[in-house]
């Protein structure tokens, strides 16, 4: 018993030491980004970004500048709309397909897999997509942003792999009880798949949240643009600002603005992730099954 303990302690030291090393490797450069976003203009121009600053030296000028944009609130709202509706739509379309593909006895399953894999491998590029979206009359609507990329083959197949991990016996038992596939998906598969639903949901959400290219292409109205586009424009103008004639709109150097805007975009995810993490505890699944 004693050797067991010793082994366990040694193992934990190894594991946590490794994690600590990883943590440091990640935090150091990241810390730099945070510091950059907080460096006051004068200091930045004098000596660049310092390795450490006391909180009373921090400058929130860059954050202020981003947040004070007239278009900021609107853009944040647009982003929220795109992210929420996009994620909901994506999940609503992905879950049934993933479930269908996880049903090994489904006639046509291989055919469908092949057909969607095909679209995973062949990317027609911008122009063929654009021609479709304009013919459907979707340009200048949110649908142009959320519909074309709604289902990701990668996410579908990953979700399928998890669905396949659910023991067939549970489903079979339900089937014997007279449940149809809809009920099985609804009552058994989904409740057992919360971690993967959240994971895939998060993949989708992050994707929609960061997307800036399709809004630029499909939305003409600047007031419809989401946050990443606005932030890009702010940066672009901070850059052009070097050419600007009269007193700047910018009170912060480009690098500072860049870091601040990136941290601002991270913020919602930073809040969301720990909430999701609650469901990422070991045994969450099986506990539910047993009940």
């Amino acid at each position: 018993m004693k050797t067991k303990w010793r082994e366990e302690i040694g193992f934990q030291i190894l594991v946590n030491g490794f994690l600590l090393a990883v943590l440091i490797a990640i935090v150091v450069p990241l810390w730099r980004v945070v510091m950059t976003s907080l460096t006051p203009l004068d200091l930045y121009n004098k000596s660049g970004v310092p390795a450490f600053m006391w909180p009373w030296d921090w400058s929130f000028a860059a954050y202020k500048q981003v947040l004070q944009q007239q278009l900021f609130l609107g853009a944040a709202l647009n982003s929220a709309v795109i992210t929420i509706s996009g994620t909901a739509l994506s999940l609503a379309l992905t879950v049934p397909l993933a479930y269908a593909l996880s049903t090994r006895s489904l006639p046509g399953r291989n055919l469908i897999t092949t057909l969607i894999l095909f679209t995973f491998l062949f990317h027609p590029g911008l122009i063929p997509d654009y021609l479709l979206v304009t013919r459907l009359g979707l340009q200048n609507t949110v649908l142009a942003i959320i519909l074309p990329p709604a289902v990701s083959v990668y996410n579908t197949l990953v979700m399928r792999a998890f669905f396949e991990g659910i023991p067939e016996e549970i489903k079979e038992a339900a089937r014997i009880d007279g449940a149809n596939d809809l009920q099985i998906l609804w009552r058994i598969v989904l409740p057992l798949s919360v971690p993967i639903l959240l994971t895939i949901g998060m993949f989708y959400a992050v994707w929609f949240w960061n997307e800036f290219f399709t809004p630029i292409i499909y939305l003409n109205d600047l007031t419809m643009q989401p946050l990443p586009v606005l932030l890009r424009n702010i940066l672009m103008s901070a850059r052009l600002n070097e050419y600007l004639e009269y007193d700047a709109y910018t009170v912060s150097p480009v690098a500072t603005l860049q870091s601040a805007s990136v941290l601002l975009t991270m913020l919602p995810m930073l809040i969301l992730y720990p909430m999701i993490q609650r469901y990422f505890t070991r045994g969450a699944l099986i506990g539910a099954v047993k009940e």
Binding site: E7, E8, V15, L19, V22, L23, I26, V27, P29, L30, R32, V33, V49, A92, L93, T94, P96, L97, A100, T103, L106, P107, G108, L111, L115, I116, L117, T119, F120, L121, F122, H123, P124, G125, I127, P128, L131, L132, L136, A150, V151, L157, A161, F162, D181, L182, L185, P195, T199, A255, Q258, V262, L270, Y273, Q277, F280, T281, R282, G283, I286
Partner: protein, 329 residues
């Protein structure tokens, strides 16, 4: 019953072959009909997704025929004159073709071979630590770099690696060494690209493996503990097999996209002195775009990449079936 079903399944793909065994044909059709009726609910709920694929994936693929045409907007897709593989010729005949392919495959290959194992190890470690709070902190912090854009990453790298005032070079200098221009030296550029990509994406890619680890039944671990298996044995015999399906799946899909070399990263990081080791297909296509509006070239190269990806995924799918007992189907 299940035998019939698998027969029915393969039928769909091999309609012609089974057609000549006309004796059991009508019987088989009936069985197929029965099997399909049994799964009618699945078809019903899957219908919107399939419709989505038809409209938003296959119509663009149909539109992608502009790859073989000299696309004229006024003539439309069908009306534009057919030019065959001419749009691809500029790429295939490029004096840099070989180099572009090598670099592209090198980068995506290295990401796969180096990046994935590191992500898996990190996931395993996160799974094994007993300190839940520490795990949450590490997890949350390590996935953050995913959100940094490559433009910001360039700033960080410059701050670390600049030969004039970069941190790493300051250290080298303080030991009396000569500063190294990491970002503009061909011998270093690849390492920088791969390293920075691993730094940025590893945390984010652990999420998937962690989710897979969490869906392994704790009873398996408990049973192993009772049997006196060591930690490492448990990882080797339970954890890894438990996430093998996900590993195989991710590997296969990544292989399918082997010719996607990571455009944004390269585009931001590369510079003329390192083109020989940094230029990839997508950056070349981007630079060619000034010529033809990228109407057809980008589409043609996209399809070319698809053909390679398809071949690769087919072969590796067979290999995966043989060696890991897993494949995409």
């Amino acid at each position: 019953m299940s035998q019939f079903m698998s027969a029915a399944t393969t039928r769909v793909g091999r309609a012609q072959r089974s057609a000549h065994s006309s004796g059991g044909f009508s019987k088989r059709v009936r069985q197929l009909g029965l099997a399909m009726w049994k799964h009618r609910w699945i078809y019903l709920i899957t219908a919107p997704t399939l419709l989505y694929y038809l409209v938003f994936k296959y119509i663009p693929l149909y539109n992608a025929q502009i790859a073989f045409k000299e696309f004229q907007p006024l003539l439309g897709i069908e009306g534009s004159p057919w030019v065959g593989l001419q749009n691809l010729e500029g790429f295939l005949n490029s004096i840099y073709f070989g180099q572009l392919m090598t670099n592209t495959i090198f980068f995506s290959g290295a990401r796969l071979v180096l990046g994935m194992p590191i992500a898996i190890v990190l996931a395993l470690m996160l799974h094994e630590t007993r300190f839940a709070f520490f795990r949450n902190v590490v997890q949350t912090i390590t996935y953050l770099p995913h959100f940094l854009s490559w433009v910001i990453m360039f700033g960080i790298l410059l701050m670390l690696l600049s030969p004039s005032d970069g941190l790493v070079n300051e250290i080298i200098k303080s030991f009396g060494g000569e500063p190294i221009a990491f970002l503009t030296t061909p011998n270093w550029f690849r390492q920088i690209v791969i390293g920075s990509d691993i730094w940025k994406e590893t945390g984010w890619s652990t999420i998937l493996y962690l989710a897979a680890l969490l869906s392994i039944s704790p009873e398996l671990y408990e049973a192993a503990a009772v049997d006196g298996a060591s930690r490492l044995q448990r990882i080797w015999n339970i954890s890894l097999p438990g996430i093998l399906p996900v590993i195989v799946l991710v590997t296969l899909l990544r292989l399918g996209n082997i010719l996607q070399g990571g455009f944004t990263q390269i585009f931001v990081l590369y510079s003329l002195p390192v083109y020989s080791v940094g230029d990839i297909i997508d950056t070349w296509v981007y630079r060619s775009g000034i010529l033809d509006f990228q109407f057809s070239l980008a589409t043609a190269v996209g399809l070319f990449k698809g053909v390679i990806g398809l071949t690769l995924i087919m072969v590796s799918n067979q290999l995966a079936k043989r060696f890991a007992g897993r494949n995409l189907y």
